[in-house]
Amino acid sequence: MYYVKKFIHFIVLVWVAITLNFLMPHLMPGNPMEALVAKSQGKISPVVMHALALQFGIDNKPLWQKYIDYMTQLLHGNLGVSITYYPVDVKTVIGQALPWTLILVGVTTILAFLIGTLIGIVAAWRRNKLFDSIMGPIWMFLGSVPQFWLALLLLYYFAFKLGWFPEMHSYNYGDSPSWSLKFLSDAVWHSILPACALLFTTIGGWMLAMRNNMIQIISDDFIAYARARGLRPWNIMMVYAARNAILPSVTQFAIALGYAVGGQILIEEIFSYPGIGYQLAQAVITQDYPLMQGIFFIIAVVMLLANFVVDILYTRLDPRVRTEGASA
């Protein structure tokens, strides 16, 4: 029952996101599509024009008719055609960008969560001791650095000045993606600077959140009771304190993973890393509205899916929710 309720909620939210995606260009003052079409007249082929007209409903059909057309297209898995990459369709562009983003942002999200949470656990357990008083300020400072600015600094110093790392892209130009060792090591090499920019700025958030939760949990009665029973400190720290304190972080983590699909717009843009974020940035700059809408659609669905998974996951992690859900 609980799962069914959550699933219906998920479906409704997806519908809201899609509708919003459809409505936004139509609600903006002076339909931006019309402006775009006017601007591109003659530059793009009549075929694309027609596709665009269909997708954004430039014709004078009533709004509900356009809405139905739009939904039908989506149901057929048709996200439209990219203007920038014409005649490649949006789905293909996203499909090519997605793996890069998943690897770069996905891996760094997982790493940042693991490292940050671990530091947070230890810092809270040894509160106000040396480790805590060093880690707190360092990560709080790094957490305040705007990610894209740190990316600029790293790029400037390690790539341009020292030349230790490549300046852009995700692999050497001229190579074509393959599973060869050379290509893979090259790809890892290219991802180190953007990964560092992501890691350094996000670890702090996980750490501080975990530290705060831990500190609150540690003052709970069941920790004193565990101590009284003579349980081993490691056992108390991990199984009793951290296991409870991590619950809110896990929710955040699953959402962050979902978010990873959206890529890191500015970081990917700065390093010209060909992921989803880069494509979104390009779409914004070149006003490629179909691509923008398609990317937003994908991100929204994955985010909502992540939220749905979190709700399900939570019942596994916190037995209290399970019974509540069952009785509700």
């Binding site: 809201v16 903006m28 709080m140 705007p146 600029l152 600094l153 006003q287 990317i295």
Partner: protein, 326 residues
């Protein structure tokens, strides 16, 4: 005294805070915040930037936008303290004016988002019923929609988004998380006795919220306000850097965008992109510190356990010595 009470010998006024309106002890709370080193450092850093923002015209040495009048890409020297941009502007003067713009944007976003979160969160949470159901649903939906892409989408649909457009976009999209927190807290007030008393006393909902609920949520509201300034400053820089509505009006975001477009990196003009980025970092750090300071004062569980004062420790040592001698 009821039989039950007499039997168990609990003190006459049980420590049941629900029965009394907790008194917001303003002065004491503020004094405590200023004892917290984190908050003090935060306020100090923020203060410097606010002063720069206020006195910008007196501090700037050149017209921040006198395009091409100065030698481009000059490294910092006695005349151009922070060097010059690739377009021939004085970085120092630009930075001074940018501080003003960015701080203002931060404050405006904070005012919009905080007001919305208070109005929607507190009122709905306190009121309950249909109003709450609708507001809560909207909040939930807004919460799970992807933030950055949504903001980028909206702003890219607005042709030539200026500062004001960006302020409204950031302000109107960032209230849900804060509203949800406030709703949760406001809901706990609904059943408290002092609220009931106010209602029975014929106070309107609006008046009850203003006089009884809000004063007890000051730290949470202030927390939101501080976070939203951070978000406003960062969000502006983020959108500008992406090239959305970017203009030559000096702001930290515009400076970073200009340095990127002007190939500052390849020219080695570090003085162009370091001041705005570092400023954003410092302001966000300051605001984070302030929030942590407030948290430590308002959340007793996060408070540091007080150390034994030196006088008592000395006394104990003396006692121990005496006992040893006997």
């Amino acid at each position: 005294m009821s039989r039950q009470d007499a039997n168990t010998m609990e003190p006459q006024s049980p420590p049941d805070a629900r029965s009394r309106a907790p008194k917001p002890q303003w002065l004491q709370a503020i004094r405590q915040v200023f004892k917290e080193p984190k908050a003090v450092i935060g306020f100090a850093i923020l203060g410097i930037f606010v002063i720069i923002a206020i006195f910008a015209p007196y501090l700037a040495r050149f017209d921040p936008m006198n395009e091409g009048a100065l030698p481009p890409l000059t490294p910092p020297n006695k005349t151009y303290w922070f060097g010059t941009t690739g377009y021939g502007d004085d970085v120092y003067s630009q930075w001074i004016y940018a501080t003003r713009t960015s701080i203002c944007i931060g404050l405006e976003v904070a005012v919009i988002a905080t007001s919305l979160s208070v109005i929607l969160g507190v009122y709905a949470g306190f009121k309950g019923g249909k109003v709450d159901a609708v507001v809560n649903w909207v909040t939930q939906v807004m919460l799970v929609l992807p933030g950055y892409p949504l903001i980028i989408m909206i702003s890219s649909y607005i042709p030539n988004a200026g500062s004001q457009a960006i302020v409204w976009i950031l302000g109107l999209t960032s209230w849900p998380a804060a509203a949800r927190m406030k709703r949760a807290q406001a809901m706990t007030f609904r059943t408290r006795d002092f609220i009931l008393a106010a209602r029975l006393g014929g106070f309107s909902d609006f008046r009850t919220v203003c006089t009884e609920v809000l004063p007890n949520m000051v730290s949470l509201v202030f927390n939101t306000f501080i976070s939203m300034i951070s978000w406003g400053i960062f969000g502006e820089a983020f959108l500008r850097f992406l090239g959305i509505g970017s203009t030559r009006t000096p702001s930290w975001g515009n400076m970073l965008n200009a340095s990127q477009n002007g190939n500052a990196m390849m020219e080695g003009a570090w003085w162009w992109f370091i001041p705005p980025g570092l400023s954003i970092t410092m302001v966000i750090l300051a605001l984070t510190l302030i929030n942590y300071g407030i948290d430590e004062v308002s959340n007793p569980r996060l408070k540091k356990p007080p150390k034994l004062s030196k006088a008592i420790r000395d006394k104990l040592r003396l006692q121990a010595a005496e006992e040893g001698a006997v």
